[in-house]
Amino acid sequence: MVYLAKDYFDLLRVDKIIIGSIMPLVPGVAITNALRDSISGDFVSGMSKLSEAVIIAVAIAIGVGAILNVELLILGGV
């Protein structure tokens, strides 16, 4: 994930490009499915899916944020 974000970030420095390229990884459907399971009464499945989705979201944000910070460190701020 870090390498993916880094590739796209170094190619073109646009925030929207990162989001577009990261879209298949982002757990939007996973969170919706988790809440759907929780509403229909399958609490164990819903909670495990929700925690998985939150961990994936944190991992994606850490990957992108780390690369953004490295870039900031090297170039000394844009």
Binding site: I19, I22, M23, P24, V26, P27, G28, V29, I31, T32, N33, L35, R36, S38, I39, S40, A57, V58, I60, A61, I62, V64, G65
Partner: protein, 148 residues
Amino acid sequence: MNLLTILYAFISIVGFAVLFNIPRKAILLSGIAGALGWFVYLIFRTSLASNIFASFAGAFVVGIMGEIFARYKKQPATIFVVPGIIPLVPGYGLYYAMLKILEKNYQEAVSVGFEAILVAIAIASAVIMSTSCGRIYKRRLKLKSISK
């Protein structure tokens, strides 16, 4: 209201349907269902200016169309609904909130993240409601066939 985004939503849904290994005869129909849902979402978002209710209405239309197409194609409704709600789910909001947390911009993180969670709850309840609508219709059909 940009009507060209409906076409973009259709293309993205078809792409995600291929990514999710949807059966081939259901791909185009799931794209149509999702494009209709996106159209309803656009109408409600521009007329009510409420992102959450617009997502609810769009996901409800996607669910109803999924039920109809499921009856028509004899496939489970989930394979039409899961790609169909792709343009509505708050993946961007979730990512943006996490990024704002890493940037220590907590106020924006909470506002964006809370709206993302509310949109997710709205979509989930809309899908549940459309599924129960399909179940009620099925039960009425069964009752009618028994009473005959």
